[in-house]
Amino acid sequence: MKISLSWLKRYVPIEEDAATLARDLTMFGVNVEGIESLAPPFTGVVLGRVLEVKKHPGADRLSLCTVDAGGARPLGIVCGAPNVAAGMRVAVAVEGAVLAGGLRIKKSKIRGVVSEGMICSESELGLSENHGGIISLDFDGKPGASLEGKFGQSEHVFDLEVTPNRPDLLCHLGIAREIAALYRRKLVIPDLFDLGAGGDFNLKIESGADCPRYTAAFIDDVTIAPSPAWMQNLLMSVGLGAINNIVDATNFVLMELGQPLHAFDRDTLAKDSIVVRRAKKGEKIVTLDGVERELDPGILVIADDARPIAVAGVMGGRDTEVKADTKRLVIESAMFDPRLVRNARQRLKLDTEASYRFEREADIGIMMDAAARACRLIHEMGAGTPSAACAELLDDSRNIERRTVSLRVSQANRVMGTELAGDDIAALLDRLDLSSRSYGDTVHVSIPTFRRDIMEEIDLVEEAARVYGYENIGRDESARCSIFSEVPAEDMRKDSLVGFLVSRGFAEVVTSSFMDPADTGRMGWDGRDERAGPLRVTNPLTEAQSALRTSLLPGLLGVVRRNTRAEQEEIRLFELGKVFLPGPERAGLPREELHLAALFARHSVPLQWMEPRRQSDFFDMKGELEALLDRLGLAQEAKMIKPHDGKGQIFLWLLGGAVLAEGGLIAKGVSEEFDVDSPIFYFDLRLDVLPPAGAGWPRFEAMSQYPAVKRDLCIVVADKVRYAEVRNIIKKQAQYLDSIRVFDYYRGGHLGEGKRSYTFRLSFRSSEGTLDSIAVDREVQRIMGALQRELGAALRTE
């Protein structure tokens, strides 16, 4: 919200410069987000020296002045100010100057005498409302020097962040009240018109809940004209345009007291009546912005006897607005149910200064004063004659009384960490117009209606803390620590897995939780796949971000695409994050599963001189997954299977009955959907099916002290045989097997069609003694026998 410094000064003395005030307000809880300096609202005004003053031949009250304004010859200027005198240094608006309020200076005849400019008063320069006489300047300078920026009075406008709990700060008086409390200064309340209730008018409210208070003030003999320059300048400084004296006066009160007002042309009201009621279904109104809007019973309207004339708290209607020929006015100052205003604003998509304030709840205590203030301003401007009696309906008069809220001094000190006395706290609160009296441990506080955010003790504690100053609260002793850190073992395991993958050359990435619903098709997930039915966001930013991810893969494929385009040659990345699967888990919320997915693309090793480069392949992926399972202590338990309906080259790793991981080649069609034309391998591990972390500690086992005996074994088997079968037989047969490695694998070629060979290095070791070659030979024979029997294997010899 915009607040102008010179406007504030109408209600509270401020000596501080704008930057100091901004800093102090911010530390007081009124956050100043920016300060804008506006140039003084005039151009073309120069310093002049009055050389001679003579009577105007045709008018007693005018003088003819000769003024040195820096030009080749002095100017002749007609001046009406009583205080003009020879020798005075004055502000001269020369031909072409533009004054506050937009007046452009031309050479003109005044009562028959040519005037070549104008000697200015403060009001004409927009410096104040004082137009009683011309300004006498006391600063040095040559005649003709520009006066722009010379008054040090150029306007400063603060951009304030007002939090939703403090609607009372949405106006200049409210901010001035904070400043008065901050600097302990006296607040000057603006003058009001002497307004009383009892006016004769046909005013009706259907529901006191919808509209707890409504005040209608009346103005006769209206003369529509521009408002004075000072008012226009203040309104413009906070971003409101000047319209006419009546509208400007109501806007001025809005920005001054925070109460939105609306002026109706009284002669346009059917049967001179106003009723506040719910709109009827299908009822229509053309609002001030010229748009026809359809209403419904969820919207509160102001109506006359015939039709709606305003959307309550949002915007007035065009039919009843103030026009150039308006003669009589009804000025509305009311309070509406914030929820109804919010509803209307959302339904009609109509954000206004009024709706903003009504939604945050108007101050029910100020309706009459706000109307009286508008009457006063209108009266002072000569824009109309206010009636001394207004019409008013107040649903419950208790609502406009001060409430009492109490605070326990001990509790306040406990929350703040201070040792203040009751009187100290009362004095702090008093500064905010929260009149307080302390008795023992209790402070009773009388709450004005504009502080409707203060409902209970804790609200007062905050106010006390704020005035006392957060910066004055603090203890010297270091923080207590009676509670000790508990870090879930799962979190530590997660961190260690990440550390492991990082050391294996993976880049950790973090991608969006959102997914493009079209990705389910791109990924080729069919209807039976849970991942094909993501949760949808009802109000997404874009279609591509309208679903929640059911898998980390689409996001990671996007990362591969981006980095392929960026010509990154080795791509090895992983993400550890949540996926969201429909199917309620608890209280209607979806299942959130923690996954770890890794992708392998392009080259798997850096380009270097000592070895050839390699493309990432299936076994890169499998090796890293196996290493990860080893780290998790699951290398033995996890079983790799080929799923029955498995499309393409995808495998599952099962743990117990659950799927622990999926991995393989991203189908070519899928990679192409993501604009990547080289093969991409992946695994996707579910962390939530892992056994609890930190449960089993490894147990030490003594290592054998005896030497190992190694034998290499090369066998040829039919092409349909798999390594896993061979390994299982070897393991089953051997008694002293210590380790088994396959270090060569060969298919076809000189073996002949339909054959393959594996070469193993077997290592045998006993924990009871050194194995002799006879024992090892026996082991190997037993293994070979079983392989021949069960798989038809033959020893390869050459």
Partner: protein, 352 residues
């Protein structure tokens, strides 16, 4: 000899020679260095030839000096040659060129956001905080109502929300975990809650529609605003350096009262005002406050028996500040050239 003034400006030759010999990785390189210093056209020879330009009475001293120098360099050369020859006598283990790059595996690294999260977690774990987590897809009740945001209240407008349906939304803050955790645990408790949060805002360089936040909550019998300031000051100094200052400004959050925003002194300009801190000398880093009694009641705690504080940090913002990242959207874009910049282990030690 060393205390003698270096009258002829020649003493550094020996040092340079020693350095050159040390840098020679094999005998060939050493020979090249030897020639440069004590070869027939080397620096020492050149120096000796310059003797002619000296006055007669200076010549003997100068001659002695240069000869001493030559002896010293020769000694250094012989020592180095001995060391290199020992290696050379064995097999050539470096293919004739030990300056070739070593065999490398790929370098990996944590994402900068998670690096920041890890560093911050470590600090809070050290202070006695435990870890808690909650769902991203959350009930309206926990995200708003239980946190004292009334339905249809403008305070909800400050957090534009993504909805799944009427009652279910994407959490806009990590604060819902406060009530969830308190429902299940009795005080005293002291937790941090990192997690992703969502705001329905059009992205720009400083706003993202999803980002990482970390909540903190401390509840016990006499937790005060003073404790909050102490903990936050400790954290900021531990993370940003021991000269960082913290200030608290009053603010509003529905679920805390008194509420505050905390600023830290700008690490770039040290408080004098620069473009990073918007010329104020301060940078906003968190929201905080004393847990509102309504929130305690919603969680089943007695607000007269317990007090507590809560705080929330935006980790994306902290990462951006710490590393000078210009656009929040880079964080989820995952360009490897971006990610690699933060892989070096530069995580600050506590109170470096």
């Amino acid at each position: 000899m060393s205390e003698r003034p270096d009258r002829f400006g020649v003493d550094d030759i020996a040092e340079r020679a020693e350095k050159a010999f040390a840098e020679a990785v094999d005998l060939d390189a050493l020979e090249e260095a030897r020639v440069r210093f004590i070869g027939r056209k080397g620096e020492i020879t050149t120096l000796l030839r310059s003797i002619g330009s000296l006055p007669n009475e200076e010549r003997p001293a100068f001659g002695d000096l240069v000869n001493d120098l030559r002896e010293r360099i020769l000694g250094l050369y012989e020592r180095r040659k001995g060391a290199l020859s020992e290696g050379a006598a064995e097999e050539d283990y470096f293919s004739g060129d030990p300056t070739l790059p070593g065999r490398r595996v790929l370098l990996g690294g944590r994402h900068v956001l998670h690096q920041v999260l890890r560093d911050i977690k470590r600090i809070f774990f050290g202070m006695g905080y435990s870890l808690a987590e909650g769902p991203d897809v959350e009930l309206d009740y926990y995200n708003f109502e239980a946190l004292n945001f009334p339905p249809d209240h403008p305070s909800r407008d400050t957090q534009d929300t993504f909805y799944i349906d009427r009652d279910i939304l994407l959490r806009t803050q990590t604060s819902p975990v406060q009530v969830r955790y308190m429902e299940k645990h009795k005080p005293p408790l002291r937790i941090i809650v990192p997690g992703r949060v969502y705001r329905n805002e059009s992205p720009d360089p400083s706003h993202a529609s999803e980002f990482l936040q970390m909540e903190g909550l401390y509840v016990d019998r006499n937790v005060s605003l003073a404790d909050l300031r102490n903990d936050m000051t400790y954290f900021v100094r531990a993370f940003f350096g021991s000269d960082a200052k913290v200030r608290f400004r009053p603010h509003f959050f529905p679920f805390t009262e008194p509420s505050a925003e905390a600023d830290m002194s700008c690490f770039a300009c040290r408080g004098s005002g620069c473009s990073i801190c918007g010329r104020t000398g301060w940078i906003e880093i968190m929201g905080a406050g004393m847990v509102h009694p309504h929130v305690f009641r919603n969680a089943g705690y007695d607000p007269d028996a317990y007090t507590g504080f809560a705080f929330g940090l935006g980790l994306d913002r902290i990462a951006m500040l710490k590393y000078g990242i210009d656009d929040i959207r880079r964080l989820l874009a995952n360009d490897l050239r971006f990610l690699r910049q933060f892989w070096a282990e530069t995580a600050g030690e506590v109170f470096e």
